[in-house]
Symmetry: D2
Subunit: 345 residues, 4 copies
């Protein structure tokens, strides 16, 4: 596959280049940027020095579509929707790591992103690229919306129970902690090292943009409009990783062991989901990898399901899942370029 | 006040010495230890070098009770209950920073701590030392059970809403993150720096010992036995601090502004609780201090109350609250020895 | 003492407010800012909420000099030199925490700071405020140049050996590591949390501005112009703290024990310098405090003196030392407002 | 190649398994352990779950030698020397990641390691496996002593200047900072997270065991016995990475640009050494990779060479270099299994 990438000022685009450096069947052909045109990849992104002999080119949607089999947009919201039509018209598959095509219903977009969607028609064609849940739809899609990091961790934590109808959907409470790389590469006071180390804090509570994305994921699983769920994200002093605590009232009695079995069955064909029963998910044990570790527990005192899940927000939560989507879409081994253990410690 | 301290191998005992070094009306008279007898305080605890001219003595409950006005036990569970009677008999007030006297009902003790309680009668006399909630009982108590760190953050987050009957108690979901100092000073693989940095993980889910303590706190507030609540603690890569997300279904419509006002009224006489409306609590902005910052939010989409609270687990969550209890008990300014801003950044 | 402070957008000014909140004899009278005029201290700096009932005022040098006994400038270089004359004219003592008055010879200023000095005459009157080395000069000074953080740690590490003529000055090699707060409060890519955590790097090697300041300190100690020394600063993933390794060829045989004794004698009247023989200085054991821990070692294999020293860059390396200078200048106990143990862990 | 590994309780052995999981020409055949016999690799080391279908076997040197083409020992010092003869006798190449065979002269061993060497004859046959410096000797060796982490960073920083005779060897001063994983996987108070975060400290100054290893490396480069050098290691709050500052008096005038050129020429055939001129080495930009980034600078004021170098202590400083040694020894591409960019941020 010939690959194009738009946007490498953020962490997701750079991570994509890291992962694709080792992909056996994909070759990066075109790296597009507004700010780095003319620079070598290894100069602009020094950790990639010696891995690419490529120079940043201007963002030209037509050329991207024409020269590439697949184009990844790793851009702030609002950009991909301006490029999409031309990229698709050129015959390339488009995988948007940003948030422009995640909502099926473009009418919900303004409420959460503050501006009108520019190509609502395309949005309808987009497939939500959470591979473990929507693999077959992805395999035939030309426009794939790569999920947000929090929704990836939350939906993988809840999907088996939701799909089996085991929980009351309107009792779902999700609390997540994220490493700071999830906030992007742009320095701001909240992410300034001295103010961030030894600090934990909530933000966007309630009202984070990933809330409706999680609700939509649940709706897609059940086929019915999901009720509002409660989602609270937090920032903690680490770079990579999301740990999600998902919590919901069980509809009926079920033991932890049975729940684990049910989760294992649900994910039996998913190479990147590991259902744990004897330990809790740790972000460090998925760091740098595309794994999502999930541990469901039944709390018999409260009659609730408690699920912990861990991902690397830049891999399974962004660039890795994007590569996984590409693999699925092009019919090659889902693990290609991604099959590496976490780097720990 | 002449002060005795039992147990300084852990962080709470050492923190107590740090705080008391600046207390205007208390003087440490007796530091008791099993492992450091004969050592100078400043040798065993080098950050205290030049602050104390005291030598560790053996643990002698009788002598502690006789020589001190107040004795703090900062010991693993099971120790204070062996010393309590003699300390009290000597005429000293006992403030247990450990967990031996937190349960009103000693019969609940074995289920959560794995052994039978040795002085169930004393347990009945103990007062639960969460100052902002039970100040008047504390002022007359001779045996004060200093609260656990998680319960402190959770109960201060929920108390006004619980007291006013605004939430359905059986919908309470609490998810907290803690710095590693909360796990104590003893090295273990889970707390080994390389395995802990860049790592977030849950533990004790469900079933953490602080769960019944939170439920008991709610019961004390309402006067009725509280239903089981859901509590999930997590370990994150920082040393100090607890950030708690408490979440419950509201019984009726109320706006965020009104909720903030209600919280401010509830805590109007509490110097150490700051109710925030324009920012979220951050552990760094309470680090090293006795403050608890609390921010209640109403989520109108889900009809839920979402509260974030932050404390320093070793100060408001342990040694600082213990000093505050002493101040209240001895009728002096609650802030004595504690009135210092957080150290940030 | 009535205190004025100019500049609290940076960490040093805020730290000064933290320390002065507990000073028994100083009262902050005037907080001046260009960006926060009209804001309450506790709003602009939320960790100080409930500690000050003060509102930021415009920077008016004349009024500062008139209303205050002592004014601290915690401003980027180039600002204090514009305010100094008027502040001094008003009768206030000026303590500059910035770098405007550190060089005795204003002609050296442009080479290292890139612009001409605006009041070279005043520079000659300034006293270099490293208390342990120049206490008597400070006690009579009206313009005190608070030392840089690296020079504080390096000069306290080397002073006894330099003063006694034990080392070859042209063999001095200094390598330091600093927490990121030393780089200030302004977000930049190099200090962005994800790029800073799990990262160590050098910067300004050779040629850091603190190099000539260290050389000048050595010159002041010996009375002769010091040769160029080698200084290499590094950034490591922590907020507070400087650890300095100072290394020089010994002129003659001397054992480690004798060196320790010599250091202890040199610092015998210095409450804030602790000379260690049985452990190494740790930044955590001075964090939040005004201490400098120093451990000199003789390496008999190489005939070199190896000294490790640790300070909190914002306290002994900035605001704490400034308060110490004020105390010395006004003839009160050097420890006033500063006598607190480190906050650890 | 069929690979055997002895010792995976430490980080080096586990890292070896991580790297070999992606090696195109090596297959792990035998994992030996004293404590994990009978456990699956993916159970004992959960980040490797799904990557190995291997079970830990007892340590049987004879069987290791017989069944494997190459055996890695990642064991505490003193173990490999007991296994070496039998492993070699079986026909396998032995690469010791520990320190048993690093000294050419076994007589120096007791002074630094506290016990007599058990197979001094073998020591003479061992080749010091710093690939970039001793590639040809390694290619023909059956017993390869994998270098220590600090010596790797220090020798790569100094080798070109040493080899060209540009510096006075008896003026060498080296100061390094290391992530805590360098201290191993065993929990100890000094490495307990709360005491380690926000802390920097020296240790083993002077007298660290890597000092004579660096001196020996210099001797091997010059062919003459090197004078004692000064080496000071420090522990900083990160998991992975070593940053070394190496400093020495230049014998003659040379400009920084010329020095960089000389370094680039020296390392022109070394895929894993990147000589930097426009930025400083950062541990984060080599994390998880086998790179060593090196930046030489000439300080014209002091006439000194200042070199900064960065490695990942567990990769280039341990397991990665061991794989590189294997590749060189077996005549395959030096980069096999190692050619991946750093994981950043």
């Amino acid at each position: 596959m010939k690959v194009g990438i738009v946007g490498t000022s953020g962490y997701s685009g750079a991570e994509l280049l890291r992962l694709l450096a080792g992909h056996p069947q994909a070759k990066v052909e075109y790296v597009a940027s507004t700010s780095k045109v003319g620079q070598k990849v290894g100069e602009a992104l020094p950790s990639l020095h010696r891995f690419y002999d490529l120079t940043f080119e201007p963002v030209d949607a037509k050329a991207l579509g024409a020269r590439c089999d697949v184009v990844f947009t790793a851009t702030p919201h609002g950009i991909a929707m301006e490029l999409a039509e031309e990229i698709l018209a050129g015959g390339a598959v488009l995988i948007d790591i940003g948030s422009d095509f995640r909502f099926r219903d473009a009418e919900a977009y303004p409420e959460w992103y503050g501006s009108v969607h520019k190509c609502p028609e395309l949005t309808k064609k987009a497939v939500y690229g959470l591979v473990e849940l929507f693999r077959s739809a992805i395999s035939g899609a030309d426009l794939i919306a790569n999920p947000g990091c929090y929704p990836t961790s939350a939906l993988l934590a809840l999907a088996p129970a939701v799909k089996e109808g085991l929980i009351d959907l309107d009792t779902i409470v999700i609390s997540s902690v994220s490493g700071v790389s999830g906030a992007g590469a742009t320095p701001k006071p909240m992410y300034h090292f001295p103010d961030c180390v030894e600090n934990a804090q909530g933000y966007g509570i309630p009202g984070h943009r990933h809330t409706p994305e999680i609700e939509q994921g649940i709706s897609l699983l059940t086929g019915e409009v999901a009720p509002p769920i409660s989602f609270a994200p937090h920032l903690i002093p680490m770079s990579r990783g999301i740990l999600t605590h998902a919590n919901a009232k069980l509809k009926s009695d079920i033991k932890s062991d049975a729940m684990v079995e049910l989760y294992r069955t649900f994910y039996k064909d998913s190479a990147f989901v590991r259902v744990l029963s004897d330990r809790f998910p740790q972000t460090k044990l998925v760091a740098g990898s595309n794994f999502c570790d999930v541990a469901p527990k039944v709390d018999e005192r409260t009659g609730r399901l408690l699920v912990e899940s861990a991902i690397d927000n830049l891999v399974k939560g962004a660039a890795g899942q994007a590569v996984q989507n590409m693999n699925v879409r092009f019919g090659i081994d889902e693990r290609a370029g991604l099959w590496a253990p976490a780097i720990t410690p």
